[in-house]
Amino acid sequence: MIKNLIKSFTKLPGVGNKTAQRFAYHLLERNREAGMELAKSLELAMTHVKNCKDCQTLTENDICSICADPDRDNSILCIVETPNDLNLIEESGIFKGKYFVLGGYLSPIDGITPEDLGLDILESKIKESEIIEIILATNATIEGEVTAHFIKNMTKGLNLNVTRIAHGIPIGGELEYADSNTIAHALSDRKNYS
């Protein structure tokens, strides 16, 4: 039973055998109550959390709280790779539109295709709704860029404003520590200073 618990903890990202042992003995010896709570939360979440029917993010309801919120702007759709990316954008507090979560990125070499990401669902969503702008907020990796390009191409012929999140020097960052690619992007995407 104890071995099994330790083995289960090692399934978490970044947790090796030693850390898993610490977790298990901590809960067993010092905090059974927290252990029970963890078990309950895990069981509930694993049983009831599913994908939002509208944006594909994780939610315990059929429609997530953002999609169900009447105050959110239906005309702007922000496309992200993961539910965690959605949370990060929400934390910035600046975006009041809606989202679509791809659940990954296109990677031809790894055999990840448009069908794997539900891009057909996204396409019909864009066509059928009142969206006037889509923001491509996929990662600034080569796969994120391929995914953005594919979605941009999908919108050809539709009267849509397609934008891409800016890439450049991080706030509080110094040029000295930025790599040449980031500087090249920052320069080519520069904007008027006001």
């Binding site: 031809p108 070499i109 390009h149 040449s180 690619n181």
Partner: protein
């Protein structure tokens, strides 16, 4: 432990590996195609970049090498949109055709020239540059075909038409789709030539037929993705 210092290389593909590491396919100048693990690099600030020559230090005797460090040896080339798709195709083609640890300095050289030419090129030029690269790649891998003479040993005539016969070469035929001029341009790798859309298509089909036996049953995914784009 074998250790190689500052080997000129290009990144062909990066995939996440375990929690914070990456598996990287690298085309090196002197040691061919290699796969290496870069530990803890997913969250690191210094990102390894595609389409840019880097100097890479690595170690390891087994097929999976360990990346020790890298530094840029080139300026960045930002490939976006269609050009990025072409770049990805190029990289997939190399990873599919080259054997691991089989040195091909000449392929390293033509890859570098190709990405530089692609970077500067417009749409139709980009496709032509790719076709020339495919032709060069096949030649360097030992799958080249005779482009100066037809299968009867007669010099290719700029004004004649030809058919391509697999494993043999070009056959003169008045109904042939491939012009002698196009064969010559491929043969001398004339990147200054501006082929028509029809010529580009003919050349694409020719190279596709030549590449097919070496690519195997599994289709090139980047080609499929590229073809799925709306024109």
């Amino acid at each position: 432990m074998i250790k190689i210092d500052l080997e000129p290389s290009y990144i062909l593909h990066i995939r996440p590996y375990r929690e914070s590491s990456q598996l990287i396919d690298v085309l090196t100048r002197n040691h061919g195609l290699l796969r290496m693990v870069s530990r803890g690099s997913r969250g690191s600030k210094s990102k390894i970049q595609y389409f840019q020559k880097i100097l890479i230090s690595y170690s390891g005797k087994s097929e999976l090498k360990k990346l020790i460090k890298f530094e840029m040896d080139d300026y960045p080339r930002i490939f976006l949109g269609e050009k990025l798709m072409l770049g990805i195709y190029l990289n997939e083609l190399i990873t599919r055709l080259l054997l691991h640890e089989d040195p091909h300095p000449e392929i390293f050289k033509i890859y570098g020239e190709c990405i530089q030419n692609l970077f500067n090129a417009d749409h139709s030029k980009s496709l032509w540059i790719l076709r020339i690269f495919e032709h060069q790649l096949l030649n360097f891998l030992g799958y080249g075909i005779e482009c100066r003479e037809d299968i009867n040993g007669t010099v290719i005539d700029n004004n004649a038409q030809y058919d391509f016969i697999d494993q043999e070469g070009f056959h003169k035929s008045s109904k042939g789709k491939i012009s002698g001029k196009l064969i010559q341009a491929l043969s001398v790798q004339d990147i200054e030539m501006v082929p028509s859309d029809v010529e580009l298509k003919i050349c694409r089909n020719l190279n596709r037929e030549r590449l097919a036996p070496y690519i195997g049953d599994k289709p090139l995914q980047s080609r499929k993705l590229f073809e799925g784009l709306k024109k």
